[in-house]
């Protein structure tokens, strides 16, 4: 078996992802200096950071049905496994306005602990380092991630869920998923845009994929560019939706 085939097989067996040989060739060509022992690991990391539409090969059983969003179907099942990436996450258990207020508290460097307002920005801390910690986290375990999470949790933005996700398969088909039961790692703070999920045997009701820990495996990852613009634009989007409600 060639190195390429070996890597493809390893990714397939560890993550269930069917990586496109073209994408893998490009990856190997662009990273000639990576040592063999970490090659597969690095490839997996890159796949999770990639856009599935470019990195996966598609076959009819690993993509969403074309009419998935059709609301006339009361219930049907997706055999899968179907790898998807997250394009949007929303907390439908909290009001939009309470989410805006939470964002504004973070902007002011404050968090709420009970009745106490806590300052979260510590003097001299390098915000850049925290921002980039995820990338570093791929090669070594970084403390930065832990910090960032601690801050995010302390911000008390509810994060109660359930969450409504917009998912996209390797063919580019989009669908709405709702977290019917708590899934570890699915929170506004922890789940990045472009994060990857694997669906196995999920139920679809009225065009909505019902997500629960039984049918959903969180593979992790993110698409940097999407994630950044999503975060930057989140408050404005929430405000726009609030305004739109007022007009309705």
């Amino acid at each position: 078996m060639s190195t390429n085939d070996q890597i493809l097989a390893q990714i397939q067996s560890s993550k269930g992802l069917c990586v496109s040989p073209t994408w893998l060739n490009n990856f190997l060509a662009s990273s000639p200096n990576i040592l063999a022992p970490v090659l597969t690991k690095t490839a997996i990391f890159r796949v999770l950071a990639s856009d599935f539409r470019e990195s996966l090969s598609t076959n009819p059983t690993s993509i969403l049905p074309v009419d998935i969003s059709n609301p006339t179907f009361r219930e049907r099942r997706l055999q899968g496994p179907i790898p998807v990436q997250v394009l949007d996450i929303e907390d439908i258990g909290s009001s939009l306005w309470s989410q805006v207020e939470a964002i504004e508290r973070v902007e002011r460097g404050e968090a709420i602990r009970g009745r106490e307002i806590v300052r979260t920005i510590s003097v001299g801390e390098d915000q850049e380092a925290v921002e980039n910690s995820w990338t570093q986290g791929a090669t070594g375990n970084s403390n930065g991630t832990a910090n960032a999470n601690a801050n995010a949790n302390a911000s008390g933005s509810g994060g109660s869920g359930p969450h409504r996700l917009i998912l996209q398969d390797a063919a580019g088909k989009k669908a709405v998923g709702i977290e019917m039961q708590r899934i570890e790692g699915v929170t506004l703070e922890k789940l990045s845009i472009g994060a990857k999920l694997m669906l196995r045997g999920a139920t679809v009701a009225r065009g909505i994929i019902l997500l629960d820990p039984g049918c959903t495996t969180l593979l992790g990852g993110r698409i940097d560019s999407l994630d950044r613009s999503w975060k930057e634009g989140r408050k404005a989007r929430l405000l726009r939706r609030i305004d739109a409600m007022g007009d309705a």
Binding site: G93, S94, E101, G114, R115, R119, A205, R206
Partner: protein
């Protein structure tokens, strides 16, 4: 040689109360020259131990003797740039109207072997004690100085304090001295800066002094913050599922575990899946004893919060009334953070004292006849004072209306602490319907216990639930979607504000009420009545000036890394923490003053540089908006 001991209390009423107890009621009263309130009481008392029988002069001060101020050349508003006040020399002088009192102490000290300080046992009292000592030493450099440790003016307690004096706590006195200096410098610098700069901005500020205080401003900040949250609030629609079952002639409403969601389509889909399932499954039936806990022993913050909620008296008035009750010897010292009753206190004896009361005397009797329980043990102990409790019974017709209310509250609370929890039987039923979970809860109150005396708490039986068995299934009578709208928070009330100040380290339990009174006084905040009758609440609403100041200071630091607005509690909290370090002996007064001044000086420089932010905010609210 007859030994003479000079005793000095913080207020005339305490001096009189202590003199009465020590002398057994027979003492001579002498007026002092130049002050009509302070008296000298003379009598003999046997202190026991090394002191033995002594002749005693018991007198008092009236609060602080001295004040700190800038040297004369800095007193004029135009005498120096406001920023110079961070370093300008200051001096401590006896207040002009207190000179006769200071003189009296000097004179009396001259003939005394020892000075016993009877100021209130808290930080402020420790500092006043140090002022008294300084005056006494002026009259008699060799006078021995002791301090009586007491927390109420009940007779046995006072006698015990007289016979076991301790030393003055210098650390605490130093902490107060540091706070006084910081308040003076920071307060004067910012007050002058903002007053001089803002007076010209709007007509109505022309003659106004716009005062700044490092506690006042964060207090105002809380009020403005809530006000803006109310103003900016946007209502949103939510949807939920409610399930009802008719059984045994009763209607049982099941509540959705998700409460409600903000996505209509999702809720419709979830309801449909319930309906498809048809049958609901009872997954949990729990019968369990429930109890409502009796309250914790009473602290000052609790007295102010509960008091303003239940008695409808503002916190400052409550504290004044409580002071009066303490001075008259009816309740223990009302400034305390402690919510644990020391094991040594004979609580039953205190309960017995309430026997004569018409309203709760019978209840007190029942406690002694077997229902007495040791109070719950809270988490706070200031190591100085016990929780607030009645020390003697007083007939209601000896009290004015407010005193009656506060005494009643303190007493009912105390009796409640010594009672058993209220007990009941609770039933929790949980059902799974489709993929969704719902629950119904029932409660039957079996024993009211403390609730009988603590009329401020409510705990009532709910409607009785029909019988359910785990594992049984049923088809709900109704399952529907309901719709609702989020509502804006209410404006801040005083109890909430006290809670926020407490949690954020603004002021001490002793001073919070004053800060709130101050921002009303300065016209930064007004009160407004919400609702009517028994359910009415006083709300705090900022004035245009109040909003302008907060917005102005927020804008001054906006965009500056690591700069904190004066409307936020963080700077003051740091300062407060450093005071504690002085008390613990880990930092000196000088260190703390310098560090805190540096912190505020930085904000001062930003404020000076970006003063236009403040002016713009004032113009926006006081000139442009004033006409709208």
């Amino acid at each position: 040689m007859a030994r003479k001991i000079l005793c000095v209390a913080e207020k005339p009423a305490i001096a009189r109360a202590v003199a009465t107890h020590l002398s057994g009621g027979s003492f001579q009263t002498h007026s002092i020259r130049g002050n009509q309130y302070v008296k000298n009481y003379e009598f003999d008392f046997n202190f026991g131990g090394p002191w033995g029988n002594c002749s005693v002069t018991m007198t008092s001060v009236i609060g602080h003797l001295t004040g700190l101020d800038f040297d004369r050349q800095y007193k004029g508003w135009m005498s120096c740039p406001p920023g110079a006040l961070f370093e300008a020399p200051v001096q401590e002088d006896v207040d002009k109207d207190k000179l006769p009192i200071a003189e009296n102490i000097q004179n009396q000290a001259r003939y005394s072997k020892a000075l016993f300080i009877w100021t209130d046992c808290d930080r402020e009292g420790e500092h006043i004690g140090s002022e008294v000592r300084n005056q006494a030493k002026k009259g008699n450099a060799r006078i021995e100085v002791k301090r009586a440790k007491f927390s109420n003016t009940e007779r046995a307690h006072v006698l015990q304090a007289a016979r076991g004096p301790v030393n003055l706590d210098e650390y605490q006195a130093n902490a107060v001295a540091a706070r006084i200096e910081l308040d003076l410098r920071i307060g004067a610098a910012f007050t002058r800066l903002q007053t001089l700069q803002l007076q010209a901005v709007a007509e109505i500020l022309k003659e106004k002094i716009i005062s700044y205080g490092s506690c006042q401003f964060p207090t105002l900040g809380f009020v403005v913050d809530r006000y803006l949250r109310v103003k900016n609030f946007k209502p949103e629609t939510f949807w939920g599922i409610k399930v009802m079952l008719q059984r045994e002639g009763k209607k049982v409403n099941f509540l959705w575990k998700r409460v409600h969601l903000f996505d209509r389509v999702a809720v419709i889909m979830m309801l449909e899946r319930c309906l498809i399932a048809k049958e609901a499954n009872v997954v949990k039936v729990v019968q369990k004893p429930k109890s409502k806990w009796r309250p914790l022993p009473l602290t000052t913050v609790d007295l102010q919060m509960m008091g303003s909620r239940f008695l409808r008296i503002d916190s400052q008035t409550i504290m004044k009334v409580a002071e009066a009750l303490y001075t008259k010897g009816y309740i223990s010292y009302p400034r305390t953070e402690t919510d644990q009753f020391d094991k040594a206190i004979d609580l039953k004896k205190l309960v017995e004292k309430q026997f004569p009361d018409n309203s709760w005397g019978q209840y007190a009797r029942e406690l002694i006849d077997g229902k007495f329980r040791t109070p719950r043990w809270g988490r706070n102990n200031d190591k100085a004072h016990p929780p607030i409790h009645p020390v003697a019974w007083v007939s209601p017709n000896q009290l004015n209306a407010n005193e009656k209310k506060v005494y009643e509250f303190v007493t009912r609370r105390f009796l409640a602490c010594c009672s058993d929890d209220a007990k009941g039987q609770g039933t929790d039923i949980e059902i799974q319907y489709g993929e969704e979970f719902f629950h119904a809860n029932g409660l039957i109150v079996l024993e009211r216990n403390y609730l009988d005396v603590y009329v401020y708490d409510k705990w009532e039986s709910s409607q009785e639930l029909p019988t359910f068995e785990r594992g049984e299934t049923f088809e709900p009578t109704e399952a529907n979607i309901f719709e609702g709208k989020t509502t804006a928070p209410n404006y801040l009330t005083e109890p909430e504000l006290i809670g926020l100040m407490d949690a954020n380290g603004i002021g001490t339990d002793a001073t919070m009420a004053e800060h709130i009174a101050k921002i009303k006084d300065r016209e930064y905040v007004v009160t407004n009545k919400r609702g009517s009758g028994r359910t009415s609440v006083e709300e705090l609403i900022p004035t245009r000036l109040g909003i302008a100041l907060v917005e102005g200071y927020d804008n001054v630091v906006s965009g500056l890394p690591n700069s904190i607005s004066l409307s936020k509690p963080f700077l003051r909290k740091e300062m407060e923490l450093r005071m504690l370090e002085i008390c613990a002996g880990t930092k000196t007064r000088q260190d703390v003053v310098q560090q805190s001044l540096d912190m505020y000086r930085e904000v001062f420089i930003h404020t000076q540089r970006r003063i236009d932010m403040l002016k713009t905010a004032c113009r926006k609210y006081l000139v442009d908006d004033a006409t709208s």
